[in-house]
Amino acid sequence: MTHNPSLSPSPAARRLAAVADVSEQFTAADYVCSKETATAVFLMVQLQRPLLVEGPPGVGKTELAKVLAQTTEAQLIRLQCYEGLDEAKALYEWEYSKQLLYVQMLKEQLGTLLATTTSLNDAVALLQRQESAFFSRHFLLPRPLLQAIVASQPTVLLIDEIDRADQEFEAFLLEILSDFQVSVPELGTLRATQRPLVVLTSNATRSLSEALKRRCFYLYIDHPTLATELQIVQRKVPGIDSRLATHIVQFVQRVRQLSLRKPPSISETLDWALALVVLGASVLSRDLIVETLNILLKDKDDIARALREAGR
């Protein structure tokens, strides 16, 4: 419990001062969000808590973080997780080659510096005093997590697909998320001047640890309802005929009801709608579906099933 919500609201918190503000500003940024989403975003901004977003692929989890960065005028730092991701890739690394290069270039300078010394002991002592020059921020290669911590401007940190990282990375992440400070042995502790807004996304391929969940607010984004999806299509595909849009969305919603290997996501709906607009379609005919369904569905069996459904 390090935060105190009553103290000095962040600029982001002032900007999104009510749930309605979130809906409004997200909609203005072309992100149609449900009340669930708006509430969760509002709370995470107000209480400065990380937000864990789960849901099937392609429902706009990553997009949510991007829009959040956009509306709060924050810089977006993204950490894409994968199996085997470790601290060196996520936090920081020393730039070994750069350090060596500098040693090489400063060789003569070192020579003159050490010329005054008479014994080896003196030389080592003298070098030790210079040590900090080679382990300074200058040679530190910050990775996304450190970037987010030391950033001077407001930041949205997106930790994407956390379920793909190993479990012990999760444990390491917990430490960072709870105090937003990192100790680099050679440099000391680096503390965040302002807490970044953290969004974690997960496709729920494995269940995350209870400890991580406990520290986050939770949002589950499911496939959108017909009305929402229609709204999204109309916003994202400018110039689409409203009748065509309705047909597309109705069809997609029906297809999602089938038990497919991979139900179509919003992004696929949008791709499909865009393709149909480019093709100059005004109504959704069966032939048109047959020709273009491979944009919406990427699996042979799924396509066959959806076509059977379209026949009805």
């Binding site: 209480l47 085997g84 012990e168």
Partner: protein
Amino acid sequence: MTPRIVTFIRLLRMQGLPISVAESLDALHSVSQVGVHDRDLLRLTLRTALVKSHRDFSTFDALFEQFFTVPRHQRRRHGQSPARTSTGVGQRPAPQQNGIPVTPTQRTPQTPAASVRRPVQEPPNDTPAMESEETAQALQALAELEQAWQEHSAATQQPRTSASPEHTEDQRAQTRIDRPFPPDRLANMYREVERLAARLLSRQALRTRRAQAGRFDIRRTVLRGLRSGTEVPFTRAYRRRKISKLRLIVLCDVSGSVWQVSTFLLKLVHTLQAAFASVRSMVFVNSVVEVTELFRRMRFPEDLESLRHYPQLNLFGLSDFGRVFYQFSQDFVQELRRDTIVLILGDARNNAFDPQAWALAEVRQRCRRIIWLNPEPHREWNTGDSIIASYTPACDQVLECWRFEHLAQAADVLLRA
């Protein structure tokens, strides 16, 4: 409002939702941000802070519906208009019948729903303005609730989750997994299996990572530096061990007698999938059916039953291990390689059919290792129609698997194979 929410959280916990104190505090802070005038907003706020899995949403929503419903006469008095009318009655979870509900997949329907309803509705106030009066009433309601809950527990003779016997490491290890569980403990056991697998997985990941990172190789680093002519070792060299992931084939008996243990093993393997290059899963009774696809994207425990209801699988037939191994050695011979582990779960009760142990021996010739888990205690092996002895020569390890600790042991053997 605070005591009311605290009471609500208590009830959620009773329903089995894992809610920590930190989360409760979060919920209270959150509510102070949004206020309590918009009922739906209150629901979403509490849910965001308290419920961390969408599978628990329905439990939460149903309880919210019951708990935060202002009776009709009071609503009129305060001029409040909650989003929906009182529909709590219809959504009440089905009352429990003698401890064991119809499907084991549901969350324990332990709601003392009928008893909850009355006391909660009695506090006549839902406005935060009358906080102190409300506090007293909520506390009283809480006391009543607790009492109702105690009575309910006693009446249904259902031990509470917290009092279940596997609450210490040691007792858990001793827990028998070959007996049917009451549903609440079953969910608990699945969680334990998952925790176990997660622990083993992270150990495995650490091993792999260490091997991949390798040890710093001074000799080669210096040599490289020399070779580049600068004498400065710009590129570091490491000595790396190569660890490649193994392939796993699971052969799981799903006939009634061993199904309980099978579910745990399947849960374990399901969570361990990441540690293997590929996992192929087959189920059998008297013939083998591959269920890899379904298994890969299955949800626990909802989809468990669908694993054994494949049309090709004669679920009610008699177990015939000989036939199964023969069929397996014929159909999947091309799948067996030097990096393949075959994991078999079965009691080897062959109903006096031909053992055809040579078929299993042939499988062994082509794979890296065969591990057999027998869900019967050691003393029952080779009694009656159990013919585990005739298969033992073909297996690298034959382990008993009827306690939780056996499961842990099996997982360990599997990952070290």
